[in-house]
Symmetry: C2
Subunit: 429 residues, 2 copies
Amino acid sequence: MKIQSLETFDLRFPTSRTQDGTDAMHTDPDYSAAYVILKTGGGPQGHGFAFTIGRGNEICAAAIEAFRHHVVGLTLNEITEDFGGFWRRLAGDSQLRWLGPEKGVVHLALAAIVNAVWDLYGKVEGKPVWKLLADMTPKQLVSCIDFRYITDVLTPEEAFEMLDRLARTRSDREAELLRAGYPAYTTSVGWMGYSDDKVRAACREAIAEGWTHFKVKVGADPRDDTRRVGIVREAIGPTRTLMVDANQRWDVGEAIARMKDLSQFNPLWIEEPTSPDDVLGHAAIARAIHPIGVATGEHCANRVMFKQLLQAQAISFCQIDSCRLGGVNENLAVMLMAAKFGVPVCPHAGGVGLCELVQHLSMFDYIAVTGTMENRVTEFVDHLHEHFVDPVVIERARYMLPEQPGYSTEIKKESRDHYRYPDGPVWSA
Amino acid sequence: MKIQSLETFDLRFPTSRTQDGTDAMHTDPDYSAAYVILKTGGGPQGHGFAFTIGRGNEICAAAIEAFRHHVVGLTLNEITEDFGGFWRRLAGDSQLRWLGPEKGVVHLALAAIVNAVWDLYGKVEGKPVWKLLADMTPKQLVSCIDFRYITDVLTPEEAFEMLDRLARTRSDREAELLRAGYPAYTTSVGWMGYSDDKVRAACREAIAEGWTHFKVKVGADPRDDTRRVGIVREAIGPTRTLMVDANQRWDVGEAIARMKDLSQFNPLWIEEPTSPDDVLGHAAIARAIHPIGVATGEHCANRVMFKQLLQAQAISFCQIDSCRLGGVNENLAVMLMAAKFGVPVCPHAGGVGLCELVQHLSMFDYIAVTGTMENRVTEFVDHLHEHFVDPVVIERARYMLPEQPGYSTEIKKESRDHYRYPDGPVWSA
C-alpha cells in the first residue's frame, strides 16, 4: 500500500453571502478546505484537509505541496509503524520549520496530510478512525505522539499508564456511545451577522430539536452584545446552558470588564476572550471572572501552547481542533494533557468538515482517555454537511457514532468539482 | 507617491553547500528572501523581504501576494498618516488572519511588506530609517504601533511618556553613534557543521579583528557540545564573552541539565533552549540556571509572545528580529515593552540581510528608547552582505551608522537575477 501521489485542491464555499459563520473578527468567512488526496494506485485513497475561511486557502494548499517529499513513496505501514517519527519529520523539516515552527500555514498543511493518512489507515483497516484508535493498545497509541517539548508535563510512561488504566473497560463505553451518542452544543443560533428576529427564530427551532447548550457571538459594540445575549437567554430560559464567544476581540482588561457585565446572563464560559497566544492573559481573565470559565483552542497553535494554558490554569474547557493542531496525533497529546489536569475537552467544530472529524476524537476521549462525558460538549454547526460522503449524524443534540471506514474527511467528487477555487462553476460564474 | 504595483521574488542563496549557518535544528539552510518591491511609477521603489532558509520561501512569496489588496493603490501618505491602522488592517485581514493570526507565513509576509514601506518612506524623506525614526516626535512614533493585546503591559500614554523623556537628548546619542558605532557580537566562529580546527582558526581571526563576544551552537550530542564550547572558551580566553545557542533543541528538563554542565565555561546566555512558544518553560529554565541568562526571539511570533516572556521573567535578553516580527512597527512595540521591564534588546541577525535591517532598530533603541548601550550587543554574521546596495559597515566589532536613505533592504539587481529560484542561473545550472 504505497502512497504514489499527492494531489491538492483549493475548495471554497461562499458562506459569506448569507452571513453564516460571522463573528466579531471574521466578518465575511468563505468556509474553505485546503484539501489533499493521497493516492495508492488503485487502492483506497486518503482524504484530508485543513480548514480556512477564504483568502489564503491557496497558500495552505501550496504548503501541503511543500511536504510532498515526506509522504510520496512511503507505504502506509512505513508511516504507521513509527507514526510519531513520521509526524516529527514533517514538523521538524529542517527548512520548512523556519516558517513556523509548528504554527501557521505549515502546521495547517501538516494537519491536512496527517488527517489524510489517518483516513487512509481507517479505510485500509475497514474501521472508522474512532474505532481504529479504540482498538489500538496503549503502547501503539503512545507511539503516535511526538513528546518533544511536553515531557515536563507528560512523559510517554505517564501517557501509557493513563491509557492502560481504562483499556480493559473500553468496550462498555463503546456500547454506551452506540446507544446514546456524544453530547453536542449548537452555535447556529447566534452568528454576529444575524438579525435579532433571526436569532429568536433559530433559538425556538433549536429548542424544538432538543438542544440544551447554546453559544452566542460577542465582541461587538457592548450594548449590542448585551442585547443579543439577553435575547438568547430569554429565548432559552434559565435552565438551559449559554456560552459566549468573543473570537479574540478584546484586550485583557476589556475582557474582564465586558464579562463582569455579561455575567448577568450566567454564561458557562467565555471563549477566546483575547489573543490566542496570550496564556498569561487568559490566566488573568480566568482569575478575575471565576466562576465563569475560560475556553479557547481553535486558534491554539500546538501542544506547547495547550500545555501552558493547562499549566497556568488559564482554561476550564480545552477546545482542541482537528485541523489546527497537527492532526490526530497532536490531538492525542493534548487530550492526554487535559485529562491529567482534569480539564474537560470540548472540541471546536463547525466550519466545513470540522464536525465530521472531531467527533472521532471526542468519542475516543470518552472511550479510552477520560472515561466520562460529564461536563463535555462538542460544538455542532449545521453547515455544509451535505458535501461529505460520510456526514455527521445528529439525533436529539447528540453525535451518533460514525460507522464508515476512515476519518469522515471525504468530500464528494461533485462538490470538489463545483466549489474549486477559482475555476469551479460557483466561483467562475 | 502612489504604490502602483507590487512584485515578489523568491531569492535563495545556496549556503547549505558550505555548512555556513548550520545548527542543531537547521542542518542545511539555504538562506533565502521572500522579496517584495513596491513600485510607485517612476519614483523611488520600496524594497522589503522576509527571511527563510530555503524550502517554503515560495509559500512566503505567495503570502505577500495575498496582501496585495491592502497595499496597491494607496499613497505613501495614506499609509504613514495612520501607520498603526495600516498595520492592523494587514494583521487583521478578516480571512487571512485565520492562517495565523499574527504568526507563521502570513506574519512573515506582513513583515516583508511593512519593511518595504519603511524603505520607501526613508527614500522619499531622504533618510536612513534609523534617522527617520529618530526625527519623529513621540506622538508620531506611538501612532505607528498597534497596541491591541498589549495594553495590560503598555498603553499608548506610557509609550509616549517613555519616548518623550529622552526626546530632548536624542542628538547627543546620534553624535556618539556617529563617533563609535553600536556594539556587535559574532556567530561566525561556531556553526554546528564546522570542524574543530575550523572553529579554532575562526576564533583566532575574530580576535584579531577586535571581536569581544562570541556565540557557539550547541544542542548536538552532549559530549560534542562540551568539547566545542570548551574549544571556543580556550581560544578566546577567560575575559572575553561567550554565549551558547541551542536553537530549540531541548525539552525543559534537558535544557536545565545541559546548562548545569555547560556553566563551567561561564556563558553569558543560553539562546533558544527549548520551543520558542514555551514562555513558562523558558521561565522555569531561567530560574534554574541563574545567573546564566536566557535569550530568545528569532522565532518569537509576535508582540504578545514577547509580552509574556517579559511578564514571566523568562528572558534576560530580548532578541527582536526585523523580519519575524511584523516589521519596524511591531519591533517598536517590543523595544518599548523590553525597556519598561529593564531587559536589554540584543537583536537576532545574520541570515541574509537581517544585519542590514536590524542595525537601524538597535541604533534607534539607543537614541530614543533606552539611551544606553550597556549590556547590549547586536548579532553579526559575515554572510552575503555583498549582495546589498547598502551593506552594513563593521569596524572593530561595531556597526557603523548607515547613511543611505531607506532601510538598507535593497538587494542588487544582478543578485536578484542570479539567485532567483528556481530559474536563476545558480539554481537552474
